[in-house]
């Protein structure tokens, strides 16, 4: 007993090396963010000559210019549409697929699971040219609709594999008792599985949200540069010019694009933590 208490006290004592490393890690995360925020309020000359000095004035000219110059408002709306619809489609497809795989006992289920896992092996860039050709063939080149379809396809392998693992933690007895009560498969998925694996769904949702919101290359090529269609990540680099890039304006724009991601992360963060802790402690 005494030995156990000593061990607990020792484990709770602050380890100066670990403590120091945590601060270094925190600094590694905070310094770029600090640079981003202060630079968004500075002109080029101040950014290059005194990169880490705080701005002399805190006016919002750079933000106003970024907003107007490349129509960031339209870009944000486009990004929101693409992200939310693609997210909804992904979750709507991944949940039943992962349920079927998790509950499958035969070879077919194993093959399908491996098929999804194989999807993870395809590098994104390798799919670029065939995807462009597909969008042209479908008559959806330079439209948002193609992104609604393409993004879910690109993340389904990881989403299905992850959700399958969460589904497998649900005791089969729950499903059996629901069946005995006359519940259909759909009812079982919606009323039994989804509530239990909510942290898993939140995890997948956050990862997908970040992936959809921040994606640049495919959005540029497939949806094009039209301000009515382009996502915010395509609009933002339009602030880069070959001869005269105003980095303060560019970073102000970058800061604006980060706001929705931060809000979603704050909302879903708790669910993500729950998912990470699931199974970490014995009940």
């Amino acid at each position: 007993m005494a030995h156990s208490v000593r061990q607990t006290k020792r484990s709770l004592r602050i380890n100066p090396i670990a403590h120091g490393l945590v601060w270094v890690y925190a600094a590694l995360l905070i310094i770029p963010l600090y640079f981003l925020v202060i630079s968004a309020f500075k002109p080029n000359s101040a950014i290059f000559t005194m990169p880490f000095a705080p701005p002399t004035t805190w006016n919002f000219d750079n933000f106003v210019q970024a907003w107007g110059q490349v129509q960031l408002g339209d870009g944000l709306i486009s990004s929101a549409l693409v992200t939310v619809i693609a997210e909804a489609l992904t979750v709507a497809l991944a949940i039943p697929a992962s349920y079927a795989i998790a509950r499958s006992r035969g070879r077919v289920g194993a093959v399908v699971e491996k098929f999804f896992a194989a999807g993870l092996l395809i590098p994104g860039l390798a799919a670029l040219v065939p995807t462009v050709l597909l969008s042209i063939a479908m008559g959806l080149f330079h439209t948002r609709e193609f992104l609604y379809l393409f993004y879910p396809a690109s993340v389904l392998p990881l989403s299905v594999i992850m959700l399958t693992q969460f589904m497998r933690t649900v005791p089969p007895e729950l499903e059996e008792s629901a069946m005995m009560d006359g519940a259909s498969r759909l009812r079982i998925v919606v009323s039994v599985y989804v509530p239990i694996i909510t942290p898993g769904i939140a995890t997948v949702a956050i990862l997908n949200f970040l992936s959809f919101w921040n994606e640049y290359l495919f959005a540029l090529i497939l949806a094009g540069p039209d301000p009515d269609i382009r996502t915010v990540q395509v609009a933002l680099p339009s602030l880069v010019s070959q001869t005269n890039t105003q980095y303060g304006v560019l970073l102000a724009g970058a800061l604006i694009t980060m706001i929705p991601v931060s809000i979603v992360y704050i909302i879903l963060n708790r669910r993500l933590e729950d998912a990470l802790l699931q199974g970490a402690v014995k009940s």
């Binding site: 549409l81 094009g224 602030l239």
Partner: protein, 427 residues
Amino acid sequence: MKWRQAIALTIAVAATAALTGCTVKGSGGAEEDNTLTVLTNVTPTDETGKVQAQVVADFEKATGKKVKLIPSGESIPDVYETSVAGGKEADVVMVNLAEKSNDWVKNGIAKPASDYLDAWGLTDKILPSALDAWKDQDGKVQGFPYSGFVWPTWYNMDLLSQAGVKEPPTTTDDLLAAAAKLNAAGIPPFIIGGNDWSGQKLFLQIAQSYMKADEAEKVFSKGGFCGNANAMKGIELFTELRDGGVFVKDTQGYTADQMNASFYEGKAAMMSAGSWAFGNAPEALQANVKLAGFPVPSNGAYSKPTAYNGFTGLGFWISPNGAKEGKIDLVKQWITAFYTPEIAAAYAQASNGPVAVTSTEGGNTEIANKLTAQAVESVPGLVDFALMPDTVVPGNQADAMIRQTSAAYAPGVDANAICQSLDALYS
């Protein structure tokens, strides 16, 4: 479970928006025929953007049609080339003639301007030298030249004086001596964006120090740096200047934007930058800067220091969509509007650079910027103009060449290694 309801509501709103009011504006049909789409690298919020906005307003009033501007930055060539593949390209592209755009007419993704110049009455309105600059190897004028530039060397006379240098150096020996004095005084001498296109242009400017324009054109377009004695002398001169401390420390890592910012702040005594940088130069600095050429060797191909000039800074390209029957009249009206004397004068003033238009009579030609005034009044007499590489270096090799010239700025890379890396691009 409020958060679930919130998510469901968000999805419902997004789906409704996607299917109703915010649906994609389609291509084709009557609406498209009434709209001219222009992919442009003119920044909407700067002075040139205001001139462009004036043209849009005049155009829409005169024609009753709409202009859809698609402002894009550095990515214009990539964006345009991909959109052509899907048949969704803009009707007109406003971008410079350099690197990738050099191959557009050759590859059939832009219509040659020479097919329209006479019919639209523009041949006489455009400077012959500008039309020559936009010709490809088959003699076709690729696009409609519009905005140009002067690309001198900038000398901060205050900093040079502090180091005991009274006048801008005119020979490379003078430059080496000036750099030694500046370094001794703790003043960074010559800054250049060694990591990007600005470093590439300066490298090629020095590399052609012993070559006349036709010889340089042959080497830059076909390769053969190692096999050309004059090209090798130029590259050796470059390494001599580099190793003689002419360039600031770690030049190979700088970009053009960093170069401008450092020079504007008085952190370097010399730089090579074009007229596009005049507008952002602080007013206090403008009075203190002398524009001249880059020093030349005493036994080189040029008798005076060299600078670049050209009319490849901005032009109009007609896309396959723009050349279609329903669009070409609108394209004509859009492009010709820029060549009226009033608009040309306004654009020249806004861009602080020359325009390729023969007459700006009647427009406001007053020059407020001191550097622009120098570039117009004194620079032409002080310099010889070297061969501008943009239209000569093949478009598909331009990016790779920038990587090689960037490496050339690193200390210890000898002339043989540099010429071999450049020649490898052409093989």
